[in-house]
Amino acid sequence: MSKEKIGVYICHCGSNIAGTVDVAEVSRWAGEALKDRGVVVSRDYKFMCSSLGQELIQKDIKEQGLTRVVVAACSPHLHEQTFRNACKEGGLNPYLCELVSIREQCSWIHPDKAVGTEKAKAIVSGGVEKVIWDEPLEPLRVPINPVTLVVGGGIAGIQAALEVANAGYPVIMVEREPSIGGHMAQFDKTFPTLDCSACILTPRMVEVGSHPNVKLFSYAEVTNVSGYVGNFQVTIKQKARSVNTDLCTGCGICQEKCPKKVIDPVFEAGLGYRKAVYTPFPQAVPKYPVIDRENCTYFLKGTCRACEKFCPTGAIDFTQEDEYFTFDVGQIILATGWDLFDARRIPQYGYGRLANVFTSLEFERLTNAAGPTGGKVVLRDGVTVPKSVAIVHCVGSRDQNYNPYCSAICCMQSLKFAHLVHERTGAEVYNFYLEMRTPAKGYEEFYQRVLEEGTHFIRGKVAEITDAARYPGEEGKLIVQAENTLIGKQMRVPVDMVILSAALEPRRDFKEVARLFGISCSEEGWLIERHPKLDPVATMTEGIYIAGCAQGPKDIPASVAQGAAAAARVIGKIQQKQITMEPIRASIDQEKCSGCRICNNMCPFNAITFIEDRMVSEVNPALCQGCGTCVAACPAGAISGTVFSDQAILAQLDGLLLNNLKTLDLTPA
């Protein structure tokens, strides 16, 4: 007979659990069959997580003197904290409460009520056995370093960095390209208001570049991350710029004089050129150029040095090497952005084969006043103004063959393109769309405006784009073939130019990023937030937040909102000055430790050290992350872990197998 007084609470979760689990029966069963195990109260309730549900527990703790609580409801990842807090409020140590899941792993996966009820009983029984072994614990508290690392200098990262910096805390920003600004810097106009992108972005970039609280590393990458929330150590690799930033004034003479012209695949989306020494665009922040060593004549052939010769301040330094800096930071915001879908993957759209098929980013550069054509919309020959243009929505998105998701921005982007084509060329515009999705402030109004401009809207996914003329009048044109689904007829529309609204995709190196920062990403590669609705900026890893398109496709307003939200979370934590952490830690019983040192190499966090003079090992609780590998490995059984002790796990095992109903007393002595 257990000495403990255990309360068991079965949640209906509306019909989510009660639909396929007989909750009343589980509650009755727990009260009777587990009586000997210490269960003194067993109840079922419609919504345990509601305040009334929580009060129910608190009342029982007070009135019945409960010493342990088991809640059978949803996943601990959802409401463990809720019920621990409820217990704490009720006067019980929060770590004496177990939440077991009878929803995600039981009621939702099987339609048979009898089976579900039996499984729920086993799960509850496992929880009851485990809770007997739980110990009262206090959460660990560690100080938080106020320095925040922001990875990615696009609009989301810029917003986040400014919010934190303006709140008075230091920020380190790391950007891979020579300048911050991200994709937004490539655009000419932004929907739906058609503000000039540079006009609204440049001031923000300048603010970041000159902010006393921001340390900006551009042309740099994070190469290593260690530590934990509040106390990360990050290593930043500053790639060699070959330009001494202490001397450079950003005058631009080196770029003027550099004889080597190369296609710019990043900022100009492959549609324009830059020099081997370059800043991606005139308003770049920082203003210092970099030498692209893969293309620089000096680095390739050993001669030239034109930039060095003409630099008025002697800032060119060919001998520079990559540098590594290590910083302590408290929290990290990832705003690593997106890459464009490679439209060549859809051969029937002809991109790469048919000259006048353009991608959305190429078209953005075409319309940009500072772009390769000075904002003139022309065909690939650089001179001819198109008389008819087709804009294809959903290229590589909403398609099981490529990306199943909706890219969220294409509809509005395509409407913007339609407007710009009208405005700049007067051409006939055909938008081939699947569904028109304009769900944000001012978006539907913009759609109305583009309708009124006389754009042709054809509802149908484009089947193919070809230059093979079939009928008279098609010669020399690009023919867009699709079904006009609203009239149910196949159509061939001959045009001069096609713009593919290509999908937004996760950064190509998403796997490395996820691994480096220890967070998870979805199958496609978007970084996963802690909760899709209630916690869209935090991640499962404490202290790491995400913002902008790294989390999923989104437009500028949403990216900015998320950047600010991530910053707010960071600032909130900094202001608490310390962070509470789960007290799941290992400790070594010095009496039992034989000094074999097997555990020493087990720990990837170097939390275990061998004390030479006493010939025993010791765990540093500040470094221990609680994985428990050493506990499992210790041959002497000298290491024990809190929350997940050997005894607790074995007890839960027995409970799940329902052996507690028939066998010996497993209660702690």
Binding site: Q348, C394, R398, D399, Q400, N401, L434, R459, G460, K461, V462, A463, E464, Q481, A482, E483, N484, T485, G488, K489, Q490, M491
Partner: protein, 195 residues
């Protein structure tokens, strides 16, 4: 699995919908329930311009339960089995396979229109069932005479050319194991009738 959502209907509660019937008669998971009416199939179809309804429209009609209209349509018979729609479909609907299903259902229900296609298939199959191999000359001439006696003149030049180049046989080849083949096919048809 989308097939899960067409779980067997309890007897006597309601009749199987046409949509369910089409799905059941198509091998594998044909993903018809996933159709989002985008029209990639109709846009891609080489003979789409001559169809009564585009494949997309046919799918909408199937889910609306317009069985008679669908089975009377010439659409499946104008399918040339090029599989463009199938590989391009953003929802992985097995469109070509569904067209074959519609042909079979139309033949079974005897409601297809006056398209020559079912007869062409039947004539072809007759040769195969009796000889084990196809027989082009017999097939083409019989088909022409039956359906387009005047077309015979148009095609005669081609036929003579083929014969003169030695590319057309006068006699069909019969395989050795024709009896075993017949037994196999009979058994197969028996199994099909039971399903």
């Amino acid at each position: 699995m989308s097939s899960a959502s067409v779980s067997p209907t309890p007897e006597g509660i309601r009749q199987k919908t046409f949509l369910e019937e089409v799905i059941e008669n198509t091998p594998g998971d044909c993903h018809l329930l996933n159709c989002i009416q985008c029209g990639t199939c109709g846009g891609s179809c080489p003979s789409g311009q001559d169809m009564d309804h585009t494949p997309r429209a046919i799918f909408a009609m199937i889910s609306a339960g317009l069985k008679k209209e669908v089975l009377k349509s010439n659409t499946p018979w104008y399918c040339v089995s090029c599989y463009y729609c199938t590989v391009r479909c953003p929802q992985s609907v097995h469109i070509t396979d569904i067209m074959y299903t519609l042909k079979r259902l139309a033949v079974k229900e005897k409601v297809y229109d006056d398209s020559k296609a079912p007869d062409f298939s039947k004539t072809f199959v007759d040769w195969v069932e009796n000889y084990g191999r196809a027989f082009e000359l017999g097939l083409m001439s019989m088909h022409l005479i039956k359906h387009n006696p005047f077309g015979v003149f148009k095609m005669a030049g081609m036929g003579m050319g083929m014969i003169s180049k030695g590319r057309m046989a006068f006699t069909p080849t019969r395989i050795k194991g024709i009896d075993s083949l017949k037994a196999i096919l009979n058994k197969a048809k028996e199994l099909e009738a039971m399903a």
